[in-house]
């Protein structure tokens, strides 16, 4: 089976391991993720805060490409891309005048009927049913599922999971044998795009998240967003200096945790690319 795939810039750069683990996991379930041909930037962070028309047009072009290339569904693993794509699709559906204007800019037909799946939705739809049978190394660890801000908000547009207390990743983790802990920082801000300009703030915000998970006995954090991952993983020195202690809890993409449980190799899942080493003892 083939499904459209929009990686976005993170998965081609800083989060290469996310890209690898998503594709490998899909393959293990006989699904081929077909990368959109000629895709462009989703406009996250920069475009949508600077130029509305540009931010709409960038996404409209991506969705128009997907339509043109015959995809009914596209998987968008990056939470930020997922959020941008969904938001623009929603906004264009609300306003026909705006739609006409954007179509005129991108000079491509646009129908707005491509279904956009985040990685959790993709797993729920195509992996979940056959998952239990494939688990060979149950992931027997206490995990804190961290959803961040972009995966579930705004609920009006995304209509995904429970806004304030999301559960979908927790359910999937339970299915692979993990114990998902109840904690307080599931949807708190990790510092997001301040990763580069204000590392100190990221240290504080991500530090609070990690500290709560640590206090409650989490052995790993599970995420579904490249931004969350890099803040919690790559910015660990800033976090540790803010917390004034060394926390070595690893951060795993949900696809990596599931991949390990079904016996994929750490190499295939890109686990060697993390800053914080993954030393989970059975």
């Amino acid at each position: 089976m083939e499904i459209g795939f929009y990686p976005g810039c993170s998965l081609k750069g800083t989060s290469l391991e996310y890209n690898e683990s998503v594709i490998t996991l899909a393959k293990a379930f006989d699904i081929e993720l077909v990368e959109l041909n000629d895709w462009n930037c989703c406009g996250a962070t920069a475009a949508h805060s600077m130029d509305r028309e540009l931010s709409l047009s960038l996404v409209a072009r991506i969705l128009a490409l997907a339509e043109q290339q015959g995809f009914e569904e596209i998987v968008v693993p990056c939470a930020s891309c997922y959020n941008r794509l969904s938001t623009v699709q929603y906004e264009l559906a609300q306003d026909t005048k705006l739609l006409d204007k954007i179509v005129d800019i991108i000079k491509m037909p646009y129908f707005g009927n491509v279904k956009i799946l985040n990685v959790v939705q993709f797993i729920e739809k195509y992996v979940q049913d056959n998952l239990a049978a494939k688990v060979v190394h149950p992931f027997r660890h206490e995990v804190a599922c961290y959803y961040g801000c972009l995966l579930v908000r705004p609920h009006k547009i995304l209509q995904f999971d429970q806004l304030e207390d999301p559960q979908s990743m927790d359910k999937l983790m339970t299915m692979i044998g993990a114990t998902s802990i109840d904690w307080a920082f599931k949807t708190e801000c990790c510092g997001a795009g301040l990763s580069v300009s204000r590392t100190d703030l990221v240290g504080r915000l991500s530090g609070n998240i990690l500290k709560d998970a640590d206090d409650r006995g989490a052995k790993a954090l599970v995420v579904a967003c490249p931004m969350c991952h890099s803040n919690l993983d790559m910015r660990r020195p800033a976090i540790n200096s803010y917390l004034n202690k060394s926390i070595d809890i690893p951060i795993l993409y949900i696809t990596q945790a599931i991949g390990l449980a079904i016996g994929l190799t750490p190499k295939d899942l890109g686990l060697d690319r993390h800053f914080v080493l993954i030393n989970l003892k059975d």
């Binding site: 429970q162 806004l163 304030e164 307080a184």
Partner: protein, 666 residues
């Protein structure tokens, strides 16, 4: 040939400022069969009405058109005037040249011309008007009150004190409703039980009131003055005649760990139980779902204990039918379910409770005998946070409305806490303080200024538990959106008031309408607040919208007066603007073919089958017949009728076509 009079009202300047009323009168005179036309400043005043009456007598008019305001305003006035002059009132029509013309257009010829056109149209209609007689329906002078909270209690007592019989149906084992669960009441801090329980007793002892507790209305049919209700009396498994209410059985019941509804889940009760010591009637019922004998076939300890042999395990539900003339619905409200607040940890943390649960903690009859102790470990909370608008005014939670009572009860809660826990700290997070009511704002100010409650304007984003404390993260918007974090021992949510569960189902049983939130709909938001759109069914209390006690009691008395007014008449007089199935000479009898499409279309169940028989009793034809007592004149059946055999009196197809044709002919 008719002789029609046209009377044009200036309505002060309301009409004459944009419509040339004199010209309308001149133009009206040119219409065929118009005998007389005149304009006047205030047609509804005494001289104005006299003008109409005199013209009817002097000119021998057989039809009248008054061009004035909306018929909803003065149609009855002008019809009465016609009637006093000897003309059948239904030969008078209103041409609305105010709301439909002068108010919505600018001054000018076109506006005047539109007024003329409206007059022409009504003149065309009135030519087809037929004299009608109001419908008289007998009235059963007995009321059914559904719900035994303070609204039902007040309505029942008021109706009963007017000398009419009342049947009060309550689904719980005791009357009293939410008010009986409250501790003190705002703004006077008088004890809820102390003011309520005497009324509960009065209901039980009133000779005119029949009280059915542990009972629910199954079915209601009929129409104003003539309803028939089926009421299910759920088996209490107790012979109430033998039971003395000694309570021995409840002490022996082995099943003692059932969550108490009365204590809002904070206390426990047994399977055979009286909800609270002051219950009316003060006799127990057996909760079959939790009773060991009903579930496992063994036990019967209560039976062995009972000194009078009142336990009766084989009792079954009984259904009784009562004939009644009016219904007052007083089924109250519910508090929002916990799964709405994952961010506040309600349901997850024992010390995050609802306002109703706090009432039980603060109540002398509650699980802690009125001491404020937190549910998790019984400790007295040193720091307590109240979160107002938990669910209310929050479109994201699907509730747009204000629950109205929370600002006041939260101030009361904080005040009670400060009175009971000396040295305690209390915080209230709020959006706005809505304290509109007599002595209400003063009450809130007292909480802030005298009792030292800390009011923080801002929302709470999250509550989570850490090292035995509830961390409340919020924002103070009056201090430039400063984040606030409070380590509290207990959190109280002022949860939104929502429609009672089963409200929708009940509304459908009673054929009354309800709003998107399942609150029952009043007939008019201002002028008919206690009536429903179904004649003879009235509303009181929080089943219509969130309400405090004074407002509920006022509304209940209002509904009671409506019932008493209805019962004060020998017969009920109703407007004859109802559907009628035509009749003609044999052998056709009626153009109705008896398909009964109309019956399926009628929302009021007003259409029945009538058999036309010959002298020997043989059925010749079955046709539809409209029960004029039930029909609300909506006209749905008319649209459905395939053979055009039904018409609304006063709005027949003929009349409406004439109206439209008159507008088109120019």
């Amino acid at each position: 040939m008719s002789k029609i009079g046209v009377f044009i009202c200036h309505c002060g300047e309301n009409i004459s400022a944009t419509v040339d009323c004199q010209r309308v009168a001149e133009e009206a005179l040119k219409i065929e069969e118009v005998e007389y036309a005149i304009d006047y400043k205030y047609m509804c005043s005494d001289p104005g009405q006299t003008l109409i009456k005199q013209a009817i007598k002097e000119k021998g008019l057989d039809g009248v058109v008054v061009a004035a305001c909306s018929p909803r305003m003065h149609e009855p006035t002008f019809r009465r005037a016609c009637s006093e002059a000897g003309l059948n009132p239904y030969l008078c029509e209103i041409a609305n040249i105010r709301e439909h013309c002068s108010w919505v257009h600018e001054k000018g010829d076109a506006t005047t011309q539109k007024a003329v056109d409206i007059v022409k149209s009504l003149v065309a209609k009135v030519k087809y008007n037929k004299p009608l007689t109001p419908i008289e329906v007998p009235v059963t002078k007995k009321a059914l009150v559904i719900g035994g909270g303070i609204a039902g209690i007040q309505a029942s007592l008021d109706i009963a004190n007017c000398g009419h019989k009342v049947i009060l149906v309550e689904k719980e084992p005791s009357i009293g409703g939410h008010m009986s669960q409250l501790s003190e009441t705002f703004p006077t801090l008088d004890c809820s039980q102390c003011i309520l329980t005497p009324r509960m007793v009065e209901v039980a002892q009133h000779p005119n009131i029949t009280l059915y507790t542990y009972a629910e209305v199954e079915h209601l049919e009929g129409f104003i003055g003539n309803f028939k209700a089926s009421i299910r009396l759920k088996a209490k498994s107790i012979d109430e005649k033998l039971c003395t209410g000694c309570g021995l059985c409840t002490t022996k019941c082995p099943n003692k760990k059932i969550s108490s509804e009365f204590n809002a889940g904070l206390g426990l009760r047994t399977a055979i139980y009286v909800p609270f010591p002051q219950a009316v009637p003060n006799k127990p019922v057996i909760d079959k779902e939790h009773c060991t004998y009903y579930q496992k076939g063994k036990c019967r300890l209560c039976e062995k204990t009972c000194p009078t042999g009142a336990i009766s395990f084989d009792q079954e539900d009984r259904i009784i039918t009562e004939e009644i003339g009016a219904v007052v619905v007083t089924t109250g409200f519910d508090v929002l379910k916990p799964n709405y607040f994952p961010e506040y940890g309600f349901g997850k943390y024992k010390d995050v409770i609802t306002g109703l649960q706090f009432e039980r903690l603060a109540s002398a009859s509650g699980p802690t005998l009125g001491e404020i102790r937190r549910p998790s470990d019984g400790a007295i909370p040193k720091k307590i946070v109240f979160i107002a608008c938990a669910g209310s005014r929050d479109p994201a939670k699907g509730i747009h409305y204000c629950s109205k009572i929370c600002c006041m009860y939260t101030a009361k809660h904080a005040m009670l806490y400060q009175h009971k826990v000396h040295g305690g700290e209390s915080y209230v997070f709020y959006m706005d303080i809505r304290a509109a009511g007599k002595n209400y704002d003063e009450f809130v100010r007292r909480a802030i200024e005298e009792d030292g409650v800390n009011y923080i304007r801002g929302r709470v984003a999250r509550v989570y538990e850490k090292e035995g404390k509830l961390i409340v993260k919020g924002v103070d918007t009056l201090l430039g959106a400063t984040p606030v974090e409070i380590e509290a021992d207990m959190v109280v949510l002022a949860t939104a008031s929502v429609a009672n569960k089963g409200a929708e189902e009940l509304a459908q049983k009673l054929h009354i309408s309800y709003d998107p939130y399942k609150f029952f709909a009043e007939a008019h938001p201002k002028l008919k607040p206690v009536e429903t759109n179904t004649a003879g069914i009235y509303l009181a209390g929080a089943c219509q919208a969130p309400k405090d006690i004074p407002e509920t009691v006022g509304m209940a008395s209002g509904a009671a007066v409506k019932v008493a007014a209805l019962f004060s008449q020998k017969d009920l007089v109703r407007e004859p603007l109802v559907a009628v199935v035509n009749r003609t000479t044999p052998p056709l009898f009626s153009t109705c073919v008896g398909c009964f499409m109309c019956q399926t279309a009628c929302p009021y169940h007003a259409i029945e089958a009538e058999e036309i028989k010959d002298r020997n009793g043989n059925v010749l034809k079955t046709v539809a017949k409209v029960n004029p007592g039930l029909c609300q004149g909506c006209g749905t059946c008319v649209a459905f009728c395939r053979s055009k055999s039904i018409d609304i009196q006063g709005y027949s197809n003929e009349q409406v076509y004439a109206e439209v044709a008159a507008l088109l002919n120019d």
